[in-house]
């Protein structure tokens, strides 16, 4: 079955499922949840089929599908994946299943809620699989709509401010990307990403393009200082929205940097890597401190996300600094693979943490740390999961949170001692804000009647948290399969970006 158009199925099955949900939702409400779950599960299984058929020994694009879309501008519906996109697609389909399970108790227009998530999932897979820059752009922008609706309809009291901020920030960024893409089309006559990888561009043009891409992707990551939309969006988003936002949508920025910035304008990346590295280190340290000062659990996790995504951008841009410092490329692949692992791992951990906040929010309807205290007394199993996930968030070896950070810090040391020094501050800051939250929320005497009345995890919550716990520990204990999947593509990328495109 590997010759089926699997990637298209992965994109369109959830979207068709969503249309079905919207159509039947009002008449047959009892079918909504099973249908949504079945759709998400089917997509997940298909993504596993893709994984089974994936050849990790090559960096070439696989499962390619190509059809003319707009002939006049040579725009194609062109899909394909390599070792950089496959892990993210697997993450997307997995999280897709979990948010459907997580949204099981939604009563307000459940069919639209689940439909929105399914559409979002399909679009995100499409973005990870797109090999045509304009197709990528369409998915990239279209994705905003369902998320906009999810926060705007099912969000908290201040959701209008949050949605507008979210929309304007990300839209603002992506316009620059579109201009860059059109400019390159006029130069090279193609929107195919792989053609763009080979397109020679002068340095000054590269720098403009690099900055345009950086604005687009930095907002998504988000990098300091264009990050302030994230805490607001998280705070107002429903649990499922937060989970998808943190677990998958933030990865789009990192993916864009890998797929566009580095290979298309490598010379500009080499010129301006100090900018990205600097912003990444600011994110890791500065945002780590900011996280420490938060009193809202979701804000704290949002800031923690920004700080952790700093490792992604840092790891991606170490190559040139390593080359300058040691004269060799050893460690460059380590940084990029580390960034990839960090993205996947952050998907699990941040997803799990937002689910955990959701577990508490469903019961007490507060996200304030001060509303809790002594939760471990009444919810011991939940406390076990929470301690695991927050430990993973502070980079504990044996959990996935360690792997990426460890690799990036080791790679950073190859580039410059001080990069590693600042990055390693996360050992302290990450532990401080994660475990201080654990202390205030879970430990101590039962703080109030709300906490006293808490019931431990239900079956549904058990399933979600167990799945993520197994993945967090699995990747921590044996990251080999994950790294093997991306190794060829990462090495290919490193070789590609150290060759100048100027001539």
């Amino acid at each position: 079955m590997f010759d089926w158009p699997l990637l298209s199925l992965l994109i369109w099955i959830p979207i068709v499922g969503a249309v079905l949900l919207a159509a039947i939702g009002n008449r047959m409400p009892h079918l909504v949840r099973p249908l949504a779950l079945a759709t998400a599960l089917l997509a997940f299984v298909l993504s596993l089929v893709v994984y089974a058929g994936f050849d990790a020994s090559t960096s070439a694009m696989q499962f390619q599908e190509k059809a003319v879309w707009i002939a006049a501008f040579d725009i194609h519906y062109h899909l394909g994946i390599d070792g950089l996109s496959l892990p993210l697609i697997l993450l997307t389909t997995l999280i897709g299943v979990l948010v459907i399970i997580g949204g099981w108790t939604i009563t307000d227009r459940a069919h639209l809620y689940m439909g929105a998530f399914l559409v979002l999932q399909g679009l995100m897979v499409g973005m990870f699989a797109a090999l045509d820059a304009l197709l990528f752009y369409v998915f990239f922008e279209a994705m905003l709509v369902p998320m906009f609706l999810i926060i705007g309809i099912w969000g908290g009291p201040n959701r209008i401010y949050a949605t507008i901020k979210f929309f304007l920030f990300t839209f603002f960024g992506s316009v620059f990307m579109l201009i860059a893409l059109i400019w390159m089309y006029l130069q090279g006559g193609s929107f195919a990403i792989l053609d763009l990888h080979q397109l020679p561009i002068s340095l000054s043009a590269q720098i403009w393009i690099f900055l345009a891409f950086l604005i687009a992707f930095a907002v998504k990551v988000p990098m300091w200082p264009v990050h302030t939309w994230l805490p607001d969006a998280h705070v107002e988003a429903p649990t499922g929205g937060s989970v998808v936002l943190a677990a998958v949508m933030l990865k789009i920025g990192g993916y864009g940097l890998i797929r566009f910035s580095l290979p298309i304008v490598p010379d500009a990346a080499a010129e301006l890597d100090w900018l990205v590295i600097g912003l990444s280190l600011v994110a890791i340290a500065y945002i780590g401190f900011v996280a420490l000062a938060q009193s809202d659990m979701k804000k704290l996790i949002a800031y923690s996300s920004i700080s952790h995504m700093g490792f992604v951008t840092l790891g991606l841009f170490l190559t040139f600094a390593i080359l300058r410092n040691t004269g060799e490329l050893t460690g460059a692949g380590l940084g990029i693979s580390g960034a990839m692992v960090q993205m996947i791992s952050h998907g699990f951990i941040s997803g799990a943490m937002f689910l955990a906040v959701g577990v508490l929010y469903d019961r007490v309807h507060s996200r304030e740390i001060s509303s809790y205290g002594g939760v471990a007394n009444t919810m011991p199993w939940f406390a076990m999961f929470a301690v695991l996930f927050f430990m993973a968030n502070s980079g504990l070896p044996g959990t996935s949170g360690f792997v990426g950070e460890f690799m990036v810090i080791l790679a950073a040391f190859h580039a410059n001692f001080w990069f590693a020094f600042v990055a390693a501050l996360t050992l302290l800051l990450g532990a401080a804000y994660s475990l201080w939250l654990v202390k205030r929320v879970f430990y101590g005497e039962v703080a109030n009647d709300n906490v006293a009345g808490l019931k431990d995890l239900g079956k549904r919550e058990w399933i979600m948290l167990t799945v993520l716990a197994v993945l967090v520990l699995g990747v921590g204990v044996w990251p080999y399969p994950l790294l093997e999947m991306m190794e060829a593509s990462v090495q290919n990328l490193v070789e590609h970006i150290v060759v100048s495109k100027l001539n």
């Binding site: 401190f289 000062a293 050893t330 504990l396 080791l410």
Partner: protein, 654 residues
């Protein structure tokens, strides 16, 4: 079973025990939990003993192999693997034996606790993590074990998580350890950069090539790479093995239940730093600067932490400061390249210090969780076994001839005297002075707790009695090696070449080899000679002072305290480290945090730039809106003005 299966089972049995007792705690029940976990550790202990037997008596060659590839990326192999030589074998036996004793003891100590199964699951998990640490053949796994024992320590210090002091202490312990791990991780980063591998054997092989290379950190300051790496790694050891100034977490860790104070915070985990340096002796030998640094830190810890022990009133805290001081002794031994002696003291200390903690725990059970020695006294009548074993532990601790601690501590002192590197003079003073101090606080504790008139209230006294057999049996089983292990192992371990396969010392640094002549007539003669050394008389002076003050003239302590009030206050405040960290550093960190959050994120970025630009747009729109008033004459007027302007511009510009 082949040896590799055995080695795999040794750490996995406790891991399995932890999963059963932890995840199926309701299914297996209390008895089930302790049986599963105790059998798991007992299995580990038996298998470890077998491995040690093979290593020490059947000349099992050094095993160094990979269990599985953790990750292969960018041409670097990260592996999980075992290195089994004399050092590993010794550590495995010590860890599993003390762990087994503590497991059994826990049945008695925790029998009323609601978290019974959870506790057994944790100590099983700890045993797994500690074994992974000592069996590692590479830095990745070492770091895994290193942090994993830290996490279990965190969970166990905060075991009674309702107690505010406990959850403060565990957060503090974790964060202070993370400061150490920060250095450790940078050291690992440097190792990968300069040696190109994280495998011990490959790193050791690459060390000579790296020696002499320099690294520039700040400005023009050039560091020897080996010095940089070793100091970074040692910073990790300072956290885990609680050396000044990263020692502050260990006294507070006494908030945890006593069995884990014995297991984790005395016998095993806190010695991980000592073990690490000994394990990496080929690297540390390459930097005398780093060794001098280690020597001075160790000497400071040995002397000044012992002094604090004298003024403590909580029986567990006395032993905690004693542990700090003894860890200082081990560190001093490392600092003079006497790695094997450090490990030897690590082993004897594991037995007698675990014994002392468990004895203190037995007292605490009897007094229903009272730990203040001012409310004890005369307990030897009520609990003779506990008192006798506490005496044995204390005699071993002060280094009374023929007891295990005598051999190890005396050799540390002798080694320091022979060494030649910066810091030796101070270290010599510290280890001598430490002997007197050790004797003083140990006997003060013995007298205050077990002898003299009782200060217990009537109710406490009425139910003070000897602890049950699950408590006393481990005490007795630990008392035996506390007496004998030094006598029987000193010659083969240190001078018989048993550790030659694991500990590499350069000839010019090898003080231990120079000490061999002292044992030409065997450990018995050395023990007899021990009665006429200055060290012995220093210890006896300490004992005499303690005896006079605490047995015969109890008022004197108060008088001395009043006379030396300033000294007492400094010691009582523990030199103010806690205040410095809490009121200055932590407070500053939190200020920075809220400053950045409010000033940076909310005011500058969000307030001025993001919402500011939104406001500007809003204002502009407000102005523009006035232009679109909807009145036709406004538009007509604007059109006329516009026309006039255009025509005027044409005319003027022409």
């Amino acid at each position: 079973m082949n040896i590799e299966t055995i080695l795999l089972l040794i750490p996995l049995l406790p891991l399995l025990g932890c999963l059963v007792a932890g995840l199926f705690r309701h299914q297996v029940g209390r008895a089930g939990a302790h049986w599963v976990t105790i059998l798991a550790v007992a299995g580990s202990f038996v298998l470890s003993s077998y491995v040690a037997w093979e290593v020490f008596f059947n000349d099992l060659p050094v095993l160094n192999y990979s269990v599985y590839a953790w990750a292969i990326t960018d041409g670097i192999r990260f592996e999980i693997g075992f290195l089994v030589d004399s050092l590993t074998a010794l550590m495995m036996v010590v860890v599993t034996f003390v762990s087994l004793m503590v497991h059994i003891y826990t049945i008695g100590y925790m029998h009323e606790d609601d978290g019974y199964q959870r506790f057994f699951a944790y100590i099983n998990l700890f045993t797994f993590a500690m074994l992974m640490l000592v069996m590692a053949n590479n830095f990745l796994q070492l770091f895994f074990g290193w942090e994993a024992v830290g996490v279990v320590s965190y969970l166990l210090i905060g075991f009674w998580f309702k107690k505010d002091s406990a959850v403060k202490a565990n957060l503090k312990a974790f964060l202070v350890n993370r400061i150490g791990d920060f250095g450790f991780l940078l050291g690992i980063g440097a190792i990968l950069l300069y040696m190109g591998s994280l495998d011990y054997a490959e790193v050791f092989a690459a060390t000579p090539a790296v020696e002499g290379q320099t690294i520039s950190i700040l400005g023009g300051m050039e560091w020897q790479v080996m010095t940089f790496i070793c100091i970074c790694l040692f910073i990790g050891a300072m956290g885990k093995s609680a050396q000044v100034p990263l020692h502050v977490w260990l006294p507070d860790s006494m908030e945890g239940p006593t069995p884990i104070s014995a297991l984790i915070h005395a016998a095993t985990m806190v010695t991980a730093g000592i073990f690490m340096v000994a394990r990496l002796s080929p690297m540390f030998e390459a930097s005398v600067t780093a060794l001098s640094f280690i020597l001075i830190i160790g000497a400071i810890t040995a002397l000044f932490m012992g002094l604090v022990g004298i003024v403590q009133n909580d029986i567990k805290r006395v032993i905690a400061y004693s542990t700090l001081s003894q860890l200082g002794y081990m560190t001093v031994a490392l600092g003079v390249s006497a790695y094997s002696v450090a490990i030897f003291h690590l082993m004897t200390h594991a037995f007698f210090k675990a014994l002392l903690f468990l004895a203190a725990g037995s007292v605490i059970i009897a007094l229903h969780h009272k730990q203040d020695m001012r409310q004890m006294g005369g307990l030897s009548k009520y609990m003779p076994i506990t008192a006798a074993t506490a005496w044995i532990g204390s005699l071993a601790l002060i280094g009374f001839p023929f007891f295990s601690g005598f051999y190890s501590k005396d050799l540390i002192i002798e080694a320091v005297k022979l060494a030649d590197r910066p810091g030796v003079a101070f270290a010599t003073f510290a280890v001598y002075a430490g002997v007197l101090i050790t004797a003083l606080y140990s006997f003060r504790m013995l007298y205050l707790a077990f002898h003299g008139p009782t200060r217990m209230d009537e109710e406490t006294r009425s139910h003070a009695h000897e602890s049950p057999w699950v408590v006393t049996i481990p005490l007795i089983l630990l008392a035996i090696p506390s007496v004998l292990i030094g006598y029987f192992t000193v010659v083969p371990l240190l001078f018989g070449g048993a550790m030659a396969d694991s500990i590499i010392v350069r000839e010019a640094h090898d003080v231990v080899a120079q000490l061999a002549y002292k044992f030409e007539n065997g450990p018995f003669a050395f023990g007899l000679h021990g009665f006429v050394t200055p060290v012995f008389w220093l210890a006896m002076t300490g004992v005499a002072i303690a005896t006079y003050i605490y047995l015969f003239n109890p008022g004197l302590a108060e008088t001395i305290k009043q006379r030396l009030l300033l000294v007492w206050k400094i010691l009582d405040k523990k030199y103010g480290f806690d205040e410095l960290y809490q009121n200055v550093l932590t407070a500053a960190g939190l200020k920075v945090a809220s400053g950045l959050s409010r000033g940076g994120d909310r005011f500058l970025i969000d307030g001025l730039i993001v919402n500011g630009s939104a406001r500007v747009v809003g204002k502009l729109a407000g102005v523009m809106r006035h232009l679109q008033s909807g009145f036709l004459f406004h538009y007509a007027f604007a059109m006329i003005i516009g026309l006039v302007a255009i025509v005027a511009s044409f005319v003027l510009l022409r």
